[in-house]
Symmetry: C2
Subunit: 382 residues, 2 copies
């Protein structure tokens, strides 16, 4: 017997998970669903908030990695997008997104070459926190004749990237000034930790401390005759405070488009609130054990770094453990009927790394599939 | 100013991460690397072990999702592969892999249609633990004229899927027998938990208990005149015990090809041992904070469900926290020189969900890139 078959049709591949116009209940699971009414409400809410506070909106595409979603954000007034990685920016640049900030440091000749290539086509801004990054960019920009905007990052409490003294900041500003083809654009000032305080008042206070730290850097540069055209930062958890602070010139929230179990679990009682728009659809495929059900999505379809997903519907189940391809559900009430084949909607614990597991969003409205949007930058992490 | 650019070349996309034949140090990070010497030693070790114990080897493709790796396993004597999902099986079937076991339950007309389509081309075996699954498969097989082999799953201690009484097993066997186009092939008996005991002796004892439970089901069926041609199960942690048990007819390990930090942390002092073959290459891209370094891989390039990755080299760093795109490293000794740009090799905590984040393996030998293998079934979770 031959080991490998020879006469397999070259077209053999899994069927499409659904067709546009079909009921949501016909989507093959697991699948990543987008509630378009909630999603559009989130996009419009943030856009209106930014407009009301006369602050630019530059949503973070690391959350969605989707050209269609970037276009929806720009159509509502966003000035461009952030990306976290250079390779992530390529599908957006290729689609014609004009203005991209890489809100993260990068090192290496291959990365610098990507920045130079992108800057040939789009308005590219990059972040630095070390003079060596500036030297590499400056030499490459000079050699290529392409101009780049550069933002030093300042650490405003996150303790991750960014310089933490005015002297170090000024040293970066001077290093940038040494290259004609590098343009100092202002500062990147992001505090991820501040976004995640459960208490609304604690979040407000953390945002205030971060904004004060940011403002101190801006004032320091001002006294040295250096004006920050751009002061960029913020995220979903603090956007309402940061927009009103008067410190930032632009906001870079990402998760607000979708929300997730973690963000949904925070206390929200300000004027800016978001609805959960992102769901993972799954099917119960085994009910062998009393009081338990096993569904068809686990670690390969759900990021669990922020905890297990929440069951959105039905409410009589709780997702208690994720294996590679299995989700273990506890049946919460005394309703012991056999639930085999039942479809469940899960709200993932953390949207960004969950989205990165899927190749497409299946957008729906009133339980009908309306669109299928590619996750264009999935896996582009270089 | 127009919002979207019009004159972007349609070919604009990120550069290839590396070319074959180039030094490993030129691979763009983050990247998933495969040490081919270690990998081939792992494959050969398991193949030899199975041959020595006269047991069939059916490696689990859920770990690698790669046609090239399945072919390497089959070339060393594997009888075929396991997949965990039907859609996952398609790229392997399309490549001509003749014999595939779906070692997991599935429910729904769309899934049954996939099983029928696959069974048209390959020898497909599927698992069940509920009569309704058999009815759906049996009716579809009858309607299509395609024949399927069916294995009831028995719960041998995992407490997840599979029937847990002889009566329930016999009911499944009878249900299968009611359909001419379904063929009872034997039983699926897998205990994932047993694989992960840290102590070698505890693992051996757990494997023995699981094998005893499996043997009891086989004997029960035998007394009812039902012979199990196939008794399939086992995994990387217990393969050495299960091969020698005399209970199973085939082994379905997956992780052994790669290993990971978790499997590497177990006690191994038997005759069957594996080397770590899977690494994530990353670069330090920020060193702004004293005693810390930040590298360019986080949650989108590393599964952390089994803990943080281990730094393989250099040993003076420890990976302490994963953000979406950032890895936070602690500098362990007093060596405070600036490590910006330094390249690091990480051993991921858990190989299966880490592999599912990448589109390719970059295979190397003696620090030279030798091959680039596609993760063909990445994201195929339906």
């Amino acid at each position: 017997m031959e080991t490998f078959l020879q006469n397999i049709p070259s077209t053999l591949r899994p069927p499409a998970p659904v067709e546009i116009g079909r009921p949501l209940s016909t989507v093959a699971t697991p699948a990543m669903l987008l509630d378009l009414d909630a999603f559009e409400s989130n996009l419009q809410g943030m856009a209106d908030w930014a407009a009301r506070h006369k602050i630019k909106l530059r949503p973070h595409a690391k959350a969605h990695k989707s050209v269609a979603i970037a276009e929806a954000q720009i159509a509502r007034g966003a000035i461009g997008i952030c990306c976290q990685k250079l390779s992530e920016a390529y599908p957006f640049a290729a689609a014609g997104v004009r203005n991209i900030l890489i809100s993260n440091q990068f090192v290496g000749a291959d990365k610098v070459a990507m920045a130079i290539e992108l800057s040939r086509y789009i308005d590219l801004t990059v972040c630095v926190d070390h003079p060596a990054q500036i030297t590499a960019l400056g030499e490459a920009a000079k050699a290529s004749g392409n101009r780049l905007t550069v933002l030093p990052e300042v650490d405003i409490g996150q303790g991750r990237c960014g310089v933490s003294t005015p002297d170090d900041l000024m040293h970066l500003v001077s290093s940038i000034a040494a290259y004609d083809m590098l343009h100092f654009g202002g500062i990147q000032a992001y505090h991820g930790g501040a976004q995640h305080n459960a208490s609304w008042n604690d979040r407000k206070a953390a945002a205030q401390r971060a904004a004060d730290a940011t403002a101190a850097y801006v004032r320091y540069l001002d006294t040295r005759g250096v004006r920050c055209a751009t002061v960029t930062g913020s995220g979903t958890g603090c956007a309402e405070f940061d927009a009103a602070s008067g410190v930032y010139t632009e906001l870079q929230p990402g998760s607000y488009a979708f929300m997730d179990k973690h963000y949904g679990s925070l206390e929200w009682h300000g004027d800016l609130q978001f609805q959960n728009a992102l769901f993972i659809a799954t099917t119960i495929m085994s009910t062998a054990r009393e009081g338990r059900a096993v569904c068809d999505v686990g670690l390969k379809g759900l990021a669990v770094d922020s905890g297990m997903p929440m069951v959105h519907a039905p409410h009589t189940l709780q997702y208690i453990a994720a294996n590679d391809e299995h989700g273990i559900l506890e049946i919460l009430n005394v309703d012991r009927h056999d639930r085999l084949g039942e479809r469940i909607l899960l709200i993932p614990g953390h949207c960004d790394p969950t989205v990165n597991l899927y190749d497409q969003f299946i957008g729906f409205r009133k339980n009908v599939v309306e669109c299928i949007w590619k996750v264009d930058a999935r896996g582009l992490s270089q």
